[in-house]
């Protein structure tokens, strides 16, 4: 916690630049969809999607740490918020995506046609 309130303007503009650059990269990749990334699968998802998700988490980190000033909070508050959210979201996403994939298999292999 910074008791002396020095101006953080420089850091704010730096983070803004960073977020803009990352967003621009995402948009360029999303429009061009380079073949070697889009067609290469890694752990059930193509590389392009992995890049998008990693860049998103990178942006989220900077928004929370710099803009929401998480870097200035006590470690206890930081962990209470971040660890809780990350654990619960990973848990939820894992369960729902696994289940969704399973239901997909059921539909695909069933003898009944669902959508024709």
């Amino acid at each position: 916690m910074s008791h002396e309130h020095v101006s953080n303007t420089k850091r704010i503009w730096f983070v803004f630049g960073l977020l803009s650059v990352v967003t621009t990269i995402e948009v360029i990749l999303g429009i061009q969809k380079p073949e070697f990334l889009h067609m290469t699968n890694f752990l059930g998802m193509n590389l392009l999607n992995w890049i998008f998700i990693i860049l998103t988490i990178y942006k989220a980190y900077y928004i929370v740490w710099a803009f929401m000033h998480m870097e200035g909070e006590t470690p206890a508050l930081r962990r209470a918020v971040v660890w809780t959210v990350i654990f619960l979201i990973l848990y939820l996403v894992f369960i729902l995506l696994t289940e969704g994939h399973y239901v997909f298999g059921v539909f695909r292999d069933a003898t009944i046609k669902w959508n024709f």
Binding site: M1, S2, H3, H5, S7, N8, T9, I12, W13, V15, F16, L19, S20, T23, T24, E26, V27, L29, G30, I31, H38, M39, N49, F52, I53, T56, K59, A60, I63, V64, A66, F67, M68, H69, G72, E73, T74, A76, L77, A80, V81, T84, V85, L88, I89, L92, V93, L96, L97, E99, G100, H101, V103, F104, F107, R108, K113, W114, N115, F116
Partner: protein, 344 residues
């Protein structure tokens, strides 16, 4: 920074009460509580979206074919540009918000007010952009046909380019019935608007345009082609990870099963593909838009208080910090919505 309010010296008083392990004021802690619970709400929505998408992974609409509009650029396919612009607007309003917080730390009333004002403008532009996005989404562009089995048929020409219903519908055939309105019946009798064309008009128009082909929802890949054996797809037009285009004979066969003409999107069906796609789009971007809207309202309240000098009298601008936390959270959610709806 909670330190602006909590001043108690806590050293060596671990068990004597008055200890503040989180070093944050009550108001800020409660904002963090809210943000954590709201974050879990949004991740619930996005995870549900992921569930449905994994469930229909082979037929889910492709985002860059759906969101292709840009203001003043009619008929130009501009995937992603508009939503990228919206993202920049929101990030920028986040920056002005954090600049307002920063100015608050230095007790500069005028600067705080100025940056709060910019933040409010940015928020309003974002909500307006979202409304425009919704308008295009609801209105649709090409139109499609729903079959008896609930799948969606879209139309392309011989080169694989999308064709709108109005370009080939045979309007010489009378529509099966008129729109029911109050004026033509009893005062309590009305119905939702009918599609511009009837199924018969589309079928006849398709017959008289021999170069037209049907495009189905299934995404082209080695697997889907293997799974849909016997499907006579069109090898010349189909490329990987695009929707499958059928041969003319197969197209006619599919079109014979047509039941409903679909134009644009509503909560029941949409011309883009999976019915759930529009539901999730409306629900998640709508819920986010509602957050932006209420954020703008709260910002306006705080802005007025800044102008009135409320926080000068309190000798602290912590209120700006708290509303700032909320505003950044809304931005944070958008970063994820952007990725999972438009990019992935």
């Amino acid at each position: 920074m909670g330190s602006t309010v909590t001043t108690a010296n806590t050293v060596g008083k671990t068990w004597d009460g008055g200890n503040e392990p989180l070093g944050a004021s009550y108001g800020k802690l409660m904002m963090w509580f809210f943000i954590v619970s709201d974050a879990l709400t949004f991740s619930g929505f996005l995870a549900a979206y992921g569930f449905s998408r994994f469930k229909f992974i082979e037929t889910w609409p492709l985002a860059d074919e759906v969101f292709t509009h840009f203001p003043f650029a009619h008929g130009v396919a501009a995937p992603m540009y508009y939503v990228a612009l919206m993202t920049f607007i929101l990030i920028f309003s986040s920056v002005t918000m954090v600049l307002a917080v920063d100015a608050g730390h230095q007790m500069k009333q005028g600067k705080v007010a100025f940056y709060m004002f910019l933040t409010i403008i940015g928020g309003l532009i974002f909500v307006g952009s979202q409304a425009w996005e919704w308008k295009n989404f609801i209105h649709g562009e090409y139109g499609a046909i729903e079959t008896k089995g609930g799948s969606l048929l879209q139309f392309v020409d011989a080169t694989g380019k999308r064709v709108a219903l109005e370009e080939f519908a045979d309007t010489s055939i009378p529509k099966e019935r008129e729109q029911l309105t109050r004026g033509k019946a009893k005062w309590f009798m009305e119905e939702g608007s009918l599609p511009t064309y009837s199924v018969e008009q589309i079928q006849a128009g398709f017959k008289s345009h021999p170069d037209l082909l049907v495009r189905i929802e299934t995404i082209n890949s080695a697997e889907t082609v293997a799974n849909t054996k016997g499907l006579n797809e069109n090898p010349a037009l189909n490329s990987p990870k695009h929707k499958l285009i059928l041969s003319r004979a197969e197209s006619e066969k599919r079109l014979a099963d047509a039941t409903i003409v679909v134009e644009g999107a509503n909560l029941q069906r949409n011309e883009y593909g999976s019915k759930l796609f529009a539901d999730f789009f409306f629900f998640i971007t709508g819920f986010h838009g509602f957050h932006v809207f209420s954020g703008v309202l709260i910002n306006i309240i705080i802005f007025i208080n800044v102008l009135l000098g409320t926080y000068e009298k309190r000798r602290t601008y912590e209120m700006v910090e708290k509303v700032g936390l909320y505003w950044h959270f809304v931005d944070l959610v958008w970063v994820f919505v952007f990725t999972f709806f438009y990019l992935v």
